[in-house]
Assembly symmetry: C2
Homo-oligomer: 353 residues x 2
């Protein structure tokens, strides 16, 4: 065991405070990582606040982790000290079920181990995340950060990025695709950039006319205001694919109408009951609503490599570690374009008890 | 124009009565058909009752038509008098849009022409269906009935059959598939037979324990009672594909839970708002809800050929034409296993005004 500095919450709705945490000694297949940057994800706030009723305290969030290898276990073959690496939402899984064997570890039949607030498969201890100096992770769950990728901005690819990348790839979005992205936040802005880089024609659907310029700056060729019934009517049957990033209960029927034959609307944000879906909107045109959960390890590595090759990066605001609580408040007020990343080097000067 | 006998309704909720109707003179690409059998579909009752508010009277229903060619237009190449043929839910479409070119005429961008209560693309007149002696149909919308197929039972393949065949084929159901069929009526019983013939392992999900024996007799290997919470819990994540034939508003969440990774639930019956779908049930396991509308001409021909080859036929009760109104009443009370077919030869003796 080794001790390191971290920021975490000791109870629901409390501010994040500096603390010392223990990291496990290296197992044979483990990689120890010095963390340089960690993105701030909406789910970090949900976990800290215990919105899902499953948080174990103290809770150290953070699953958009970028750093350098400091040491490796005896049987590690893929990494060596000094390598630039990343860790996303998962740090372990059964590695034996069809999902794991198919590189879909997020759907592990026995449940994957989350990077924080998960349960270590060996010790049963609660996992602690990336708002910390160091982390120790099983080799299979460590990703390689290509040299061409700017490490300061890579963090949000590990959650926001892979969450939208998985359905874009699953449904073959690319040259010739006409797609729409609903919502222009952390996930939505990544979806626009990635889909444009894949060659798709991208429309942003938003309630807010003020976001039109931003959407076009990100690469969208069109903007559709969901509150404009005439514009929505005129766009009926227009899209092959819609990525719906709205994170709360909402009405998907107006978006379903925009899908052409065999069109698919993919939910990535709303983890609660939707307003009543109209069956006829699915039956007509053989439309679908699908859900998608983050992504597996191979897809995440593919995403990092794609972003390095195509120079696609999230728009981030980099904050010092002492600004975490302010960043949480601003994130929850949608006051960020589009993602916060913590510069973990600033943790070195923080005093802990 | 030629006159023929038919059964139709003159106003909403009235009984079907004998009447004379006009059939158009043969156009160059038309096939004239003497009708031998016509299946009774639930949508016939909805149309006659004007449940959807779109019925034009007099309404002659019937879109599960089996008969023989009596004459062909000058440019018809595929059929000759005496050929055994069938007509389903569609009698025309634009034949130029991507859906039509892809053999998905039911999703024609300009709207397909329904076999009854549709609008003729040339004359604008309301189309009249198969509860009649004869029909005249554009060659492209006429199907060939293989010799090996029992014409008495072929009718319901044209609507009930193709409605379930399309999603079974779209989602690759076959050897190794574990599927469930929800509801054991006209559509459900066909889905069980077809999926079993395709090699799938089929479970029937029903509210009624009394249907278990029937389900097994149709080929189902298992029966799951949706009102048994323990059995439903034990079946979590079990299926690759669920065909949901429930024709009214209902709660799909208990069925979604039964789908494994990338599993799909296909709605074919519910043309109304569903109870609130829980987004998390879609996101976890990357599940989908899709809709599916009847099927295109190539798929319908494939189905007829498959059923002839594999000796798959709907379970039908054959009725005389003067029993139509009783059959409607019984059908709406679910008092039929599983589909009525009208023997149109009995129409010859009916007196009309």
């Amino acid at each position: 065991m080794t001790t390191c500095k971290a920021f975490g919450a000791c109870e629901a709705h409390a501010d994040l405070t500096p603390m010392h945490i223990e990291r496990r000694a290296l197992r044979e297949h483990d990689v120890a990582i010095d963390i340089d940057y960690c993105g701030i994800c909406h789910s970090d706030a949900h976990a800290v606040h215990n919105d899902w009723g499953t948080t174990v305290y103290p809770c150290v969030p953070g699953h958009e982790i970028v750093g350098r290898v400091s040491a490796v276990g005896a049987h590690v073959t893929r990494y060596k000290p000094g390598d630039r690496v990343a860790v996303g939402c998962l740090v372990d899984s059964c590695q034996a079920c069809p999902s794991c064997e198919g590189g879909q570890e997020q759907n592990c039949a026995k449940g994957p181990t989350a990077t924080y607030n998960g349960k270590d498969r060996h010790t049963g201890e609660t996992t602690l995340g990336g708002y910390s100096e160091r982390i120790v992770v099983r080799e299979q769950f460590v990703l390689r950060v290509p040299d061409a990728l700017d490490v300061r901005y890579a963090g949000p690819l590990l959650c926001a990025g892979i969450t939208v990348w998985t359905p874009l790839r699953r449904y073959g979005v690319g040259e010739g695709s006409k797609i729409a992205v609903v919502g222009l936040g952390g996930l939505g802005h990544m979806a626009v950039k990635l889909a444009v880089a894949l060659g798709a024609e991208v429309t942003v659907i938003t309630t807010s006319a003020s976001k039109a310029d931003d959407a076009r700056a990100l690469g969208a060729s069109d903007v559709l205001l969901s509150k404009d019934p005439k514009a929505m009517q005129a766009a009926a049957n227009r899209f092959d694919f819609i990525l719906d990033t709205i994170p709360t209960r909402h009405n998907v029927n107006p978006y379903l109408m925009l899908l052409g034959r065999n069109g698919v609307l993919v939910l990535v944000g709303a983890l609660e009951p939707l307003e009543a879906v109209h069956g006829a909107l699915l039956v007509i045109n053989n439309r679908s609503i699908a859900g998608s959960l983050i992504g597996g390890l191979p897809a995440t590595q593919e995403l990092l490599d794609f972003c390095a090759e195509h120079n696609v990066l999230p728009d981030c605001e980099i904050v010092d570690v002492h600004e975490i609580n302010t960043a949480f408040t601003r994130m929850q007020a949608n006051d960020v374009k589009y993602r916060f990343v913590i510069d973990m080097a600033t943790l070195h000067d923080v005093k802990t008890d």
